[in-house]
C-alpha cells in the first residue's frame, strides 16, 4: 500500500523560560522535544505513537497539523508539505486534541455548519454528513444545546464530529479517549476502526497500551523525542505483551524506570 504520510527528519526544540527551567528541574535553556523523527503511515492503517508523558508525541502531532512549525525536516501528508503548504495540509487532515476547544456560546449544530462553511462544503453534502455522524454519536439529542451546557463526553463527541466535517483522508488524534467515560471511549474506538475500514489513514498518540493493541496496525515508540522503535504491532511486541516490550525498550533507552 502507498504511504500517505511520510515524516522525514522532524526536529523541534523549545526555549525554556526561567520558570519552566525550575518546573522541569533543569539548567538547560533549550529542550529538544523531537529529534530527527521519521516514519511513514500507509493508506488505510492506524499508526500509533506510543510514549510516556513529555516524550514528544503531542509536539509531533501539532507539527503534522501545522499548528507549530518544525525547526527542520518535513512531512508530506497526501503529498502536501507541512513546511511549505500548511493550508493544503489543513484541508486534507482532521485533527483532534484536547487542546482544541469549542466556543461555548454556540451549539454543536451551529459549529458543525460553521466549520463546514470554512471547509467550503456544499450544504447538501453537509446535511447528509451531519445527519450520519450526529446519529452515530447521539449528538442529535443535544445538537441545539450550547456547548457551555454540555458534559465532557458530549463536548468530545462534538469535537470529533467537527474535526471530520470535510471527510478528510488523514485523521490525527491526540489521546482520543483521554478523559472520556467508558461508553464514549468505546464509541470513539469503534469509530476509528470503522474509519480505517473506509480507507482513512489515522495517527493516534496515546500511552494506553490496550488501545494500541486493539486498534493500531503499526506502532512507533517515542522516548525523549526519539523514535526508538517503529514497526508492526507484532514486530514491536516480539512475542511479548506490548506493555512488557515497551518497558524493555524504555529501560534500554533511558537506563532505569
Amino acid at each position: 500500500m502507498p504511504d500517505i504520510i511520510r515524516v522525514t527528519g522532524l526536529n523541534k526544540s523549545f526555549k525554556l523560560s526561567a520558570k519552566q527551567q525550575k518546573l522541569e528541574n533543569t539548567k538547560e535553556k533549550v529542550i529538544h522535544a523531537v529529534n530527527n523523527l521519521s516514519f511513514t503511515a500507509d493508506k488505510g492503517e492506524i499508526f500509533g505513537l506510543l510514549g510516556p508523558n513529555g516524550a514528544g508525541k503531542t509536539t509531533t502531532l501539532r507539527m503534522l497539523a501545522t499548528l507549530i512549525k518544525p525547526d527542520s525536516g518535513d512531512a508530506l501528508l497526501d503529498g502536501a508539505s507541512i513546511a511549505n503548504q500548511p493550508e493544503l495540509v489543513r484541508a486534507k487532515i482532521g485533527f483532534l486534541t484536547s487542546e482544541l476547544k469549542l466556543e461555548e456560546f454556540f451549539t454543536p449544530d451551529y459549529l458543525y455548519d460553521f466549520f463546514c462553511a470554512l471547509h467550503g462544503i456544499d450544504p447538501a453534502v453537509r446535511n447528509a454528513r451531519k445527519k450520519e455522524i450526529f446519529n452515530k454519536f447521539g449528538i442529535n439529542e443535544f445538537a441545539g444545546v450550547k456547548v457551555a451546557n454540555l458534559s465532557t463526553g458530549m463536548k468530545q463527541k462534538t469535537s470529533l464530529a467537527i474535526s471530520l466535517v470535510h471527510d478528510p483522508g488523514i485523521i490525527i488524534f491526540d489521546e482520543p479517549t483521554n478523559g472520556l467515560d467508558v461508553i464514549t471511549a468505546k464509541v470513539v474506538t469503534e469509530y476509528l476502526i470503522e474509519l480505517r475500514s473506509r480507507g482513512k489513514t489515522i495517527i493516534v498518540s496515546t500511552h494506553i497500551f490496550s488501545l494500541v493493541e486493539k486498534i493500531c496496525d503499526r506502532v512507533g515508540i517515542i522516548i525523549k523525542g526519539n523514535m526508538t522503535a517503529c514497526g508492526t504491532l507484532d514486530q514491536i511486541r516480539a512475542g511479548k505483551s506490548l506493555e512488557d516490550r515497551f518497558f524493555d525498550i524504555y529501560s534500554e533507552t533511558v537506563g532505569t524506570i
Binding site: L67, R90, F95, E99, L100, L102, F105, F114, L118, H119
Partner: protein, 392 residues
C-alpha cells in the same frame, strides 16, 4: 477566499448579537448611561444655578432709602428693615443660610447720593450686600440686587448707553453657534466613545479566544490567517461602530440639557456631505483602534491582561481628544493630518465647525486605513507565530 472572511464576520456577529449580556453592556448601556448621566448632570447644574420662580427671598435692610423701596417693590421678597444693632445677628443668619441677603445703606442714602459730586474726589456713598455663595437663592438675589443698584446708579448720571436699542447685537448666526457648540465638545467625546467601544469587545474576541483555546480550533482549518484577521477586525469594527453610535446618540439627546439648550444650536445645519465625511473619518478611526487593540490583545494571554495593557492607550486618546476641546477651529497644514488619532480629532473639529478641508479629510482617512492595513499584516504575522498564539 473572500467568502471565508464573510463566514468569520457572520460567526463573530452571531456571537455578539446572540449574547444579550454582551449586546447590553457594549451597545445599549453606553448610550443609556451617557444619556442618564449627562441629563442628570445637566439637571443638577441647572438646579444649582437657577432658583424656583415662586421663591420669596428674605432680605434684611439697614437704613432703607425711599428710592430703593420703589425699586424693590418688583422683587418677590420679604424685606425686613432692621436697626444697626441687629447687623451681626443678620450676618450670622445669612451665613447659616436662614436668610438670603443683608443690605446696608448709609444713613440718608438718597440725600448723600444727590449731594455727591463725582469730581470732588471724595469717596462715594457705600452700599454693602452680605450674601452666601453656597446658597443658590442668596447668589441669585445678590446678582439681581447688584444689577438693580447698577441700573439706579447709571440713571443718576446717564452719559451713554450700550446696546440699548433692543436689536440683536450678536452677529453670530445659528449655524455658527451650532458649529462652535458641536466642534467644541463632540470630537473629544466621539473619540472616547469609539475607543471605549473597541476596548469593550476586541480583548474578548482575540485574547479571550486565546485564553479559552478556541482560536486554535480555527487555526487548524484551511482558512488563511489573513482571512481570519480580516474577518475578526471587520466584525469588531462593526460592533465598535454600533457602540460608538449608541454613545453618540446618548450624547446628542442629552446635550441640550448639558449646555442649557443653547439657542439655535442644531445638527440640521450639517449637509449630507458633512455626514459622509464624518462617517469616513469615524469608520477609518474605528478600524485603526480595533487593529491596535487587537495587536495588544494578541500579545496578552488573558482578557484581563489585554484590558490592562490597553488602558494606558485610553489616556493617550483622551489627551489627544482634549486638544480639540473648545478650539472651534481645526489645524491647517497637511502634516497635522499625518499624525494618527490627532488627525481624526482635527478632522472632526473641521467638519463640526463647517470648515472641513477635503484634502485633509482624505489624508486622515488614508493614513488611518494604511495604518490599519499595516496592523492587519502585523496581526497576521502574530497569528502565524506559535510563540504568541500558544504561549500560555
Amino acid at each position: 477566499m473572500r467568502n471565508n472572511v464573510l463566514i468569520i464576520i457572520k460567526k463573530e456577529l452571531a456571537r455578539f448579537f446572540g449574547d444579550r449580556r454582551l449586546m447590553l453592556s457594549a451597545v445599549l448601556l453606553p448610550g443609556i448611561m451617557i444619556y442618564v448621566m449627562y441629563t442628570f448632570m445637566g439637571d443638577a447644574l441647572s438646579g444649582m444655578l437657577n432658583t424656583d420662580e415662586s421663591y420669596k427671598y428674605t432680605i434684611s435692610v439697614v437704613n432703607m432709602p425711599e428710592s430703593f423701596s420703589a425699586m424693590a417693590g418688583n422683587l418677590n421678597a420679604d424685606f425686613t428693615v432692621i436697626g444697626a444693632d441687629e447687623i451681626e445677628a443678620r450676618k450670622i443668619a445669612v451665613s447659616e443660610k436662614k436668610e438670603d441677603l443683608l443690605v446696608l445703606f448709609p444713613e440718608n442714602f438718597d440725600a448723600l447720593v444727590a449731594a455727591y459730586d463725582t469730581k470732588s474726589g471724595e469717596k462715594a456713598p457705600q452700599v454693602s450686600l452680605y450674601y452666601n455663595t453656597t446658597r443658590t437663592e442668596s447668589t441669585t438675589i445678590v446678582n439681581t440686587m447688584t444689577e438693580m443698584l447698577d441700573a439706579y446708579e447709571s440713571s443718576l448720571a446717564n452719559k451713554f448707553d450700550i446696546n440699548a436699542g433692543g436689536e440683536n447685537y450678536n452677529l453670530a448666526t445659528e449655524k455658527d453657534t451650532s458649529g462652535f457648540m458641536f466642534s467644541s465638545m463632540l470630537p473629544m467625546l466621539l473619540m472616547i466613545f469609539l475607543f471605549t467601544g473597541c476596548m469593550a469587545i476586541a480583548p474578548e474576541s482575540i485574547a479571550g479566544e486565546k485564553e479559552r483555546g478556541t482560536i486554535a480550533t480555527m487555526l487548524i482549518t484551511p482558512v488563511k490567517r489573513s482571512e481570519l484577521v480580516m474577518g475578526k477586525i471587520i466584525a469588531l469594527a462593526i460592533v465598535a461602530l454600533l457602540s460608538g453610535a449608541s454613545s453618540t446618540v446618548g450624547t446628542l439627546l442629552s446635550l441640550p440639557k448639558m449646555t442649557g439648550a443653547i439657542d439655535g444650536a442644531s445638527a440640521a445645519f450639517y449637509s449630507p456631505a458633512d455626514y459622509i465625511m464624518l462617517a469616513a473619518v469615524i469608520l477609518s478611526t474605528v478600524l485603526l483602534f480595533v487593529s491596535i487593540i487587537s495587536i495588544i490583545s494578541a500579545f496578552a494571554k488573558t482578557i484581563k491582561e489585554a484590558q490592562t495593557s490597553v488602558a494606558p492607550l485610553m489616556i493617550v486618546v483622551v489627551l489627544i481628544g482634549i486638544t480639540g476641546l473648545f478650539t472651534g477651529k481645526s489645524q491647517s497644514g497637511a502634516a497635522y493630518y499625518l499624525i494618527p488619532v490627532y488627525n481624526s480629532v482635527q478632522s472632526m473639529v473641521g467638519i463640526f465647525s463647517f470648515e472641513a478641508s477635503m484634502p485633509y479629510i482624505i489624508i486622515t482617512v488614508a493614513v488611518n486605513l494604511i495604518l490599519s492595513t499595516v496592523c492587519g499584516f502585523v496581526l497576521t504575522k502574530m497569528f502565524n507565530s506559535e510563540k504568541i498564539m500558544f504561549n500560555k
